[in-house]
Symmetry: C2
Subunit: 172 residues, 2 copies
């Protein structure tokens, strides 16, 4: 059957388009990352870890999710090296585990902040952003950008101050 | 009971930490974005849209997922304004739908590329990255960075060339 062409024009040009089906992308980094992260609770657990939450009961309190789900997500993130288990002991109690961001977890901040920045722009929360992220060095607001400047070095999450934004709802 | 302190030191300082439980974050942009995107197939559908895929059968072929799942994900993404339905007609056939990235979908590229960059770094695919992203203007490699430079403007997905990288497996 003859293809008489489309009535629509592409909304943008993309060099790879005619090539798409000549490549198997199942091995790509997006797929590999989503095999670990592709689940809402996993990313919300990471959000809490970024906000400094470390203990099982605190994650459960913050997320209001089932303990089984939380336990499974912490296990996945620990096995992937995104969180690390660190034992602590209070008084005479038995040792318990805290979950700290490991290096790859700290590096995930860029992705999560890009998502947050997109959400602030396209699904703006009432009252403005819930978090305010500034550069500890300059005090200026931090953003995520696409750049081809070879000399531009990214800030790390360690360089940042994360504080409640105008839209953060304070709990009495 | 007396808290005798932790045996561990925090792995990083975080201004918000002592404050975490005074704020309700359920309204934050990460949560709102994940209400739409927090699902592996959704993000993989977006990956395909970025690679120029537009038609139902082509998404199904690329993703090898069930048609019911695909249909639900395309509906969610269209309702959220990330994809837009555009009708096309081939010859005498009835009108059918293509799914194009809308403005907010194009803006999501930063998040998806941040995820891909993280995956390339921490879960490197054998043979290197599956995609090579360059600035059409300068021809240089593109990266995602955190910055507080007020004058630095982000490139848009429209400024970029996305081509198969060294790790892309060509299908014969």
């Amino acid at each position: 059957m003859q293809n008489l062409g489309l009535f629509v024009k592409p909304s943008y040009d993309l060099a790879m388009e005619p090539e798409r089906f000549h490549y198997d992308l199942e091995n790509c980094s997006i797929k590999r990352a989503l095999d670990v992260l592709g689940e809402k609770w996993t990313l919300l657990v990471l959000r809490e870890a970024i906000y400094g939450v470390r203990r099982f009961d605190d994650f459960a309190r913050a997320l209001k999710c089932g303990r089984g789900v939380l336990s499974a997500r912490l296990k996945t993130l620990t096995e992937a090296g995104i969180l690390k288990r660190v034992e602590y002991r209070e008084g005479e109690q038995r040792a318990r585990a805290e979950y700290h961001l490991d290096e790859s977890g700290i590096d995930l901040f860029t992705t999560i902040y890009a998502l947050s920045q997109w959400g602030d722009r396209w699904m703006p929360p009432p009252g403005g952003p819930a978090a305010k992220v500034t550069d500890r060095g300059s005090g200026r607001a931090v953003k995520v950008v696409l750049t081809s400047e070879p000399k531009l070095k990214s800030l790390s999450m360690r360089d940042l101050k994360i504080a409640p934004g105008p839209g953060a709802k304070r709990i009495k």
